[in-house]
Symmetry: C3
Subunit: 166 residues, 3 copies
């Protein structure tokens, strides 16, 4: 919890105090709501879980499906317009910006439809990561890029469709 | 109305019940508000109409101008950041994702400034469809694409500027 | 103030009255809140300043850091998802659309991290302008473009990465 707030401070040079992050930033609020809604989801209280996530969306502009699994010190900067799907997985120490989608392309139930991010992944503002793909550790995805294929550790992906820079 | 909720359930594998769609999803709420604001708009009660659409934007994150004409079973998934302009037309059974804009490029009053979508059109997250263009039936537009030219039935459009894939 | 409302009316053919702009549009509200939060920021009341800007984000969907400097008649159309960073500068008579980011790419404190826009700049919906770059007077940036390099007066920039059209 405290380490999450410190991760925000480290990532954002405009932050003046941890109190500011705790009380004013949408990102930490969205994570707290999600910890609760994910707990309800695992108890199969789907309606209640979704209610919490919808309240969170209204307050923060960030929509995380109760089923999504997110790692430690997950920083969502600014946050408005972020959408994270039901079967998405996010590793530790990831940083995503406002407008990012971890979404699906398939309508098939009961399968993994959303991406899995490794650790230390950075996803730039407005980028869309779509489908049941694997994003390696330390990958950086550029703003407004659209990624629909898996990518290996340490790659930088840019464009529509997203391609590795070399 | 009931068919709209079923359309959401069909399109979104994460949906557990129609009640969830009705009460918790932003999309159906935005459509209900819009039916009302469009009715007021046709009575030339412009201020009141706009007030309703602004209340809807605040609650749902979806902004539909009261003048826009939308068809049956119009599904807006997630919805935050959607903007639909005054002279836009949307056919039946269309599906658009969060961050989509059906917008204008001209400042001339009294003309059609926004796009017309046929039936069964899918517009991916973050895509911008701009100008008084015609999007054919069954067209699919990729995430974050920018479409400024008309396109024929069944095409798939991707990129900035959006181009047909073949 | 009055000139700001008129600038909205001039830019948006769907506007029926100045009253509509004043009471219903998110953009003018965001500017009023920002004038106040920027005043508090200059008094080094950082927490209070940020509180005002967060209230503004909740109401309007527009996030302007209290430190940002914006010029006269700055029109933010629709506005949901706009993010403007702490050291960003916006000239006079600029027009930006919803989903636009004037953001940073560096984590270094105490330096200028965000872009400076000249006068009469237009930034299309969803475009991201990133880093301590200079955008000349009268520049037009296309929807969903990503701009990370300075550009001269009067240029039109499109794509990912954004390139001048000729």
């Amino acid at each position: 919890m405290f380490s999450l707030l410190k991760a925000y401070k480290k990532n954002d040079p405009s932050v003046k105090s941890l109190l500011e992050v705790l009380i004013l930033f949408p990102g930490p609020k969205a994570i707290f709501f999600h910890r609760f809604s994910h707990f309800l989801y695992k108890l199969k209280l789907f309606f209640l879980a979704r209610l919490i996530s919808e309240v969170s969306r209204f307050i923060t502009g960030i929509e995380i499906h109760p089923g999504a699994k997110v790692g430690k010190r997950f920083v969502i900067d600014h946050g408005v317009g972020v959408v994270i799907g039901e079967t998405a997985v996010v590793g530790d120490d990831c940083l995503i910006y406002h407008g990012v989608t971890l979404g699906g392309v398939s309508k098939t139930k009961d399968f993994k439809r959303h991406p899995s991010l490794g650790d230390n992944v950075l996803v730039g503002a407005g980028a869309k990561v779509l489908g049941p793909i694997e994003i390696g550790n330390g990958v950086r995805i550029g703003a407004n890029s659209v990624v629909t294929k898996s990518c290996g550790d340490g790659e930088t992906i840019v464009g529509i469709p997203g391609k590795p820079t070399s």
